[in-house]
């Protein structure tokens, strides 16, 4: 006997919905569960698509070495975190990086250019692990959800990802896969909806 595709689809949907329901106990109705769940994941995914993009991840290293380029190679010339996330004593981020992109040299820049603190090392982590670190005050710079939203939607260095300037060879740096406006909305929605980290 052949099972109609529609039944297979329904069966999967029901299982999926039950699964979602089981994981969101506060939500009481079938309809809302489905909608909220979908949106929540969508916001989370968009946010994570950005956070895991090289424009963001290159400055959240796990080995204290900033990365460069879409291949995330180690920063040339042996630059590293140093004592205060700004490189070494005399040769630091600001030796080359200023508060805005340099279109002559191709050196990127933004206000308070620096590595994210070591506690915010995301490189090599799963999306869920990144989200956990993001929400954990002990690893996020003691930020509340409100402060996190502000940081992620207003900070010049975060938003630099959408105006990353040109490489030394004159070519544009690639942008994160989600637009700046969509990212901001996604971050706001995700936090507004309780900053739930979907399970795998």
């Amino acid at each position: 006997m052949k099972l109609q595709p529609i039944y297979i689809f329904l069966a999967i949907s029901v299982v999926g919905l039950l699964f979602a329901w089981a994981n969101t106990p506060k939500i009481s109705t079938y309809e809302i569960v489905a909608k909220e769940s979908q949106n929540s994941n969508d916001d989370y995914d968009k946010m994570m698509d950005v956070l895991t993009h090289p424009r963001c991840m290159n400055c959240h290293p796990s080995d204290h070495i900033p990365k460069q380029g879409d291949d995330s190679h180690p920063h040339y010339f042996g630059m590293a975190r140093g004592e205060d996330d700004h490189g070494f004593e005399a040769t630091n981020c600001n030796t080359c990086h200023q508060s805005e992109n340099n279109l002559n040299s191709g050196v990127p820049g933004a206000p308070h250019w620096a590595l994210a603190p070591a506690s915010m090392a995301w490189e090599g982590l799963t999306r869920a692990e990144i989200a956990e670190r993001l929400l954990d005050k002990s690893t996020n710079g003691n930020r509340s959800h409100k402060e996190l939203v502000e940081h992620m939607t207003e900070d010049d260095l975060v938003l630099w990802a959408w105006e990353p300037g040109i490489h030394a060879n004159g070519e544009q740096r690639t942008l994160p896969p989600v637009s700046k406006e969509d990212f901001k909305k996604a971050v706001e929605n995700w936090f507004a909806n309780g900053a739930v980290i979907p399970s795998k």
Binding site: Y76, F77, G78, N104, A168, N169
Partner: protein, 726 residues
Amino acid sequence: MADKENGSKKVSRRKFLVRGGLGTIGVVAIGAYIFRNPIRRELLGFANSVEAPFTDNTDRPMVWFEVTANNEILLHSPKMEMGQGTFTGIAQMAADELSVSMSQIKVVHAASSTGNVDSFATGGSTSISGLWKPLRELAAMLRVMLIKEAALKMDIGSDELLVKDGVISGNGKMLTYAQAAEGVENWEVPDVPALKDKKDYKYIGQPVPRVDLDAKVYGDPIFGMDAEMSDMLYGAVVRPTKIGSTFVSADTSAAENMPGVVKIIVEEDFVGVVASSMLEAEKAKDAIVVTWDSYNSLDTSTIKKMMTVGNGNSTTIQKNGEAFREDDDFESLEFRSPIGAHAQIEPNGVVASVEGDSAIIKISTQVVSITRKEVAKRLNLDTEKVNIVPTYLGGGFGRRLHTPHAVQAAVMSKAVGKPVKYFFSRKEEFQHDMFRPPTHHVIKGKLNSEGYLDTLEHEFVSGDVATDSALIPNALTNVLGADVGAIRGGFIQYTAIPNFKTVYWHVVLPFATSWWRSLGLLANTFVMESFIDEMAIKASKNAVDFRLQQIGEEPIDIRLKNVIKAAAKKANYHEEVVNGRAMGFAASIDANTPCAQVAEVSIVANEIKVHKVTVALDPGLAVNPDQIRAQCEGCVIMGMSAVLYEQMFVEDGELIPTIYGPYQMALMKNAPKVIDVVLLQGKDTPGAVGEPPLGPIGAAIANAVRRLTGERLTELPLKISRASKL
């Protein structure tokens, strides 16, 4: 050999003139030194074992020395100062024969219209060795001339006069050189006097500080990039990014109205733009749309395939005894070296002014005479009317043996009627370098029953070095059948081996390759000395003893053995791994200068770390031992940079990378903390210094890695394989 033939009789008195007052109150001594044509030398010998002589312009006399009113000697150097310390060495040589103090000698680059300029080049580690005899003879002649005038003025016999620090004295009277020279119109030119005995040298042999030290520490504007002319404009030239592009057409409409643009120049072979500032010229350049007829797409693997032994034409450049037979049982290894960039920090640049029928070109160049001829030819000027004014070089390394940018700047200057300054961007430097050619090598050896080599064969393929360069006529390459640059270091020095053979294969690459400091030496010695080390291991012999047993008994062989012994002794060479470190040994002869090195190496974080390098070098008489040490240190570091990190790639027909960083080079952290240099003097005249120490470093490091990890590295840049990572 050279010494026998360039004795004092070679100084032509007909060409030796003296005249007074060229811009100074003192005197100008003018002379030309006739020297032997290098092409007449035994051809392959010139290429490989003998220091090339100094070759001057013999068409007319020009300035060597000026005596200034404040009793200083201006020495117009026919050789360029590019860091190798030539100015200091020749100042020492002149000071001793002139009996002046070092502080009284000022060295300047001879300009082509006023000075005696080398008709060949500054390169090949020949400056001090080539000038050793002629410069001292000229200085001694000037001393005799000045004493003679002083004798007349003071009415004392020349024989009764003594000279010290440029002051001539006798019978209680004294005159400075400047006073002696003042007012003299008709000079009597003497025969070449006897040169001083070595024990009477005050400066030769001493580690006197560089004469350009202050200028370089206080930031004086001495380089080509610093040159200016009044009312100067800036030029830029559009260059293709793809290999093999030829110019088809240019759309200059967008650039024409851009701010600052003065003129756009479309020539048959280039498109240039002149603007009032460098940044405006660069921006306008970027707005010019040029159509190029480009090469089909090439990549690194295509180039590697081309560069394979068996491709192209071959020449046997050395042969002794019998070659391998097909059924022989032998060890064989293949090696490769990549495309290397010069990466000198000062970009190629020039300021040109063409006015009427004459031109002035300020430029950092290694080829003053060739630049002059090229500019004159393109602009249809009388060569005599082109004055090349050389500056200090912000690194030469062979890159500045090609100066077509001087021609382009001159064309642009003529087009706008003003001086034009033009220099390369860093991307242009990397994509339009005259690269060190990639090479491929097959080397085979067979041990005899005593565990020494019975037969050794090295076949290698290289792109052009000397071939198709402005310096060496292709006729010479055709006569030799081999590229005199590519075969540097390709000669087997273990001549006690009964049977050996070296075969050179020539492949023409689709991009320009040429002189890179030490030429073929870097790759050829890496290969030969790696293989010798491998055979020593196979024979279970100490690598130093293995080498010593297979070197001949000629004078150069004795000198080679001596540097090998000296390096091994100084480094306390051994073949055990101690505290994670191992030693590697290698030796070479280049331009008649033998060099041996011991590298002490460990593996740190999966990378090769060089802790210490011991160098033994026999450059003959050491005019300035400190600068010879500096050259050894520099060669070790530049060499380890080349063998550990550097390589150019070809991707979609483009040479990449185009910036430092991606083009990885040795930094401070990579340089050995200790470089021990032992100098030997195996002959009593100065020999080549600036390149020979680049020979052994590659194999010395690779041989140390072999002892550490068991892995024989056969490709530059050296990277330990995953299996060997500790």
